[in-house]
């Protein structure tokens, strides 16, 4: 919702109208009176320019004193009363009554106070309603921003999984080539060479020479292919272990229970992200003497537990990093929880079988 007119602009306009209206009863042809009017306007403009409304009541008190000299000067307090009401300082009401009383309580002279009080209240209400709408818009914007950030994080995680999956598949193929095909080819080449050394006449046999050359070339090519396909960067458990080794604050006790063979790259990516975030938080916020990491894999779930006795991460329990981790783990159907006691414990549970929509498969059974 866009305000028709900004509350501040409306306040300026109403104040300008009031000051001009006040000139009529004040008789400004008298230079001293005009001078006081001008001082009041100057003070008000300085207040509005620098947005300092806190001591506006001082203007009203000054006018109380001036009104003893000429009761009409009490009228000059009306804009200050308007500003007080518009800023939510409702103490202006007794001031207005007091000044009107000092003015003689004439009904004909009531209009400046009435104008100041009513327009002040209306401006206050208008400002409140506008600021509520603005707050609402701000909250919505913040939500959109958080959603966009979460989406980007999840997309990033997805790309990472894709890449590590491809790498792991390449590594597996390289292993198969090396262990099976490579083994057989090398065996064949050794056998051919043995045969060649025992059977002299075969040297001149062109067919034999061609077979041997081809097998030799195949072995060389296979070696090169396996070498090129071998993944240099750590994957899966290797990444996990390298993170633990690289942690410089204290040495980490790492325990692994169960078989990790059934874990997919999605699991590893999530586990590595959680461990990385957790260790970063410990490094930032805790001073531990002992950090324990345990990875437990059973039939249905995989559980990662990170303990530290330095009670870190307190500040970050609602922080951005853990927030995205939670979202990520939840998207896999898992959960991330924190326990605070003698030790600070972070527990991440992920189902072993991740369905497309990220729900526990065993829950559906």
């Amino acid at each position: 919702m866009r305000a028709l007119m900004k509350p501040q602009a409306l306040l300026y306009s109403v104040l300008a109208i009031l000051y001009i209206m006040l000139l009529r009863p004040l008789e400004p042809q008298v230079p001293a009176v005009f001078f006081l009017w001008l001082i009041a306007v100057t003070v008000m403009i300085i207040r509005l320019r620098f947005q300092t409304y806190r001591f506006v009541w001082l203007d009203v008190i000054a006018m109380v004193f001036l009104s003893f000299w000429d009761p009409k000067l009490a009228l000059l307090s009306a804009p200050s009363i308007l500003l007080m009401m518009a800023s939510g300082m409702f103490i202006a009401l007794p001031f207005a009554l007091l000044l009107w009383g000092l003015h003689g309580g004439a009904i004909a002279m009531l209009w400046p106070w009435l104008f100041a009080l009513t327009s002040g209240i209306l401006l206050y209400v208008y400002k409140q309603s506008t600021s509520t709408s603005l707050k609402h818009i701000d909250t919505l914007r913040e939500k959109i921003y958080t959603l966009e950030r979460t989406q980007n994080h999840l997309l990033e995680a997805h790309h990472h999984i894709e890449r590590t999956s491809a790498l792991s598949e390449r590594d597996r193929i390289a292993n198969v080539l090396h262990d099976n095909l490579g083994h057989d080819l090398t065996g064949a080449l050794v056998a051919l060479r043995a045969y060649e050394s025992t059977q002299e006449p075969t040297k001149d046999n062109p067919l034999f020479t061609q077979i041997k050359t081809r097998i030799e070339r195949a072995v060389e090519q296979l070696k090169a292919t396996v070498h090129q396909s071998k993944v240099e960067e750590p994957i899966g458990l290797e990444t996990f272990e390298s993170l633990i080794e690289e942690f410089s604050l204290v040495s980490i006790d790492f325990t692994l229970e169960g078989s990790i063979n059934e874990l997919t790259m999605t699991h590893w990516q999530a586990l590595v992200s959680v461990l990385k975030e957790s260790l970063t938080n410990i490094q930032k916020h805790a001073e531990p003497t002992r950090v324990q990491v345990s990875l437990h894999v059973d039939k249905k779930i995989v559980r990662l537990k990170v303990d530290n006795d330095g009670l870190g991460e307190v500040k970050d329990t609602r922080g951005v990093g853990l927030h995205y981790m939670r979202k990520h783990i939840a998207s896999l159907g898992g959960s991330l929880s924190i326990q605070r006691g003698f030790l600070f414990t972070l527990i991440c549970v992920i189902p072993k079988t991740i369905t497309k929509d990220g729900a526990y498969e065993h829950l559906n059974r």
Binding site: L23, P31, F34, F35, L38, V41, R49
Partner: protein
């Protein structure tokens, strides 16, 4: 290293037309024949007020041009405080105006025969009005986006202010109801101050000076708001 103040001065001095106005107008105004029934040159002093308003308006053109040409955005991104920018402009224009006022005052002192008290009060009024006019010019330019709009509206408003404020007409000729309206104009208090200087009521002259200072404060406070576009 060239300071901002020097730069503003250089830019102002480069505008030949304005500099000609600064020098020529005081000479022309001194040559205006004064009415024989008045012993003080109030009429020329009043006209000089109008000249000051136009000269300061043309001088302050730099500020609106800076906004139009987007120079102000580049200045804002430089390590220069907006306050320094304003002070430099205001200071340079005021200095030029002081020179013009002094020139006019010296010439009027030579040409006309008036009491000492009038010359002293008149000089004080002109100096203070020069500051008010500079403040008004800066304030006026802060209201508009384009110089062409600003100048077209100003020429109407300034003439109205001069007539209503008693600069081009003696205040005694103003009807009473117009006088009630005219009090909100700074030009009125300049003319009023000159009138009181003629009548030798110096308390009122001081009050006029205070009122003009008040107007200057208002104009500078409102006009000092930073506008980038």
């Amino acid at each position: 290293m060239i300071t901002l103040f020097e730069l503003v001065m250089k830019r102002a001095l480069r505008q030949r037309l304005i500099m000609a106005m600064v020098i020529v107008f005081p000479i022309l105004l001194v040559l205006i024949p004064q009415p024989t029934n008045v012993e003080t040159p109030t009429l020329s002093y009043g006209f000089f007020g109008l000249v000051m308003m136009f000269v300061t308006f043309l001088l302050a053109k730099q500020v609106i041009e800076d906004r139009e040409m987007r120079t102000i955005v580049r200045i804002a991104s430089a390590p220069i405080h907006h306050r320094d920018y304003l002070v430099a402009h205001f200071g340079a224009y005021t200095l030029i105006m002081i020179i013009q006022v002094t020139l006019f005052w010296v010439l009027s002192f030579i040409v006309w025969d008036a009491p000492w008290s009038f010359f002293i009060s008149g000089y004080a009024l002109m100096l203070v009005f020069a500051i008010t006019a500079t403040g008004f010019a800066l304030f006026w330019h802060s209201l508009f986006k384009r110089y062409t709009t600003s100048v077209s509206v100003f020429s109407v408003v300034a003439n109205l202010m001069a007539v209503l404020g008693g600069m081009s007409l003696p205040l005694v000729l103003l009807p009473d109801h117009l006088r009630r309206v005219a009090v909100v104009l700074p030009t009125y208090w300049y003319a009023y101050g000159l009138e009181q200087a003629t009548e030798k009521t110096f308390g009122m002259v001081i009050l006029s000076l205070c009122i003009l200072i008040g107007f200057a404060t208002i104009f500078i406070t409102v006009g000092s708001k930073r506008r980038l576009a």
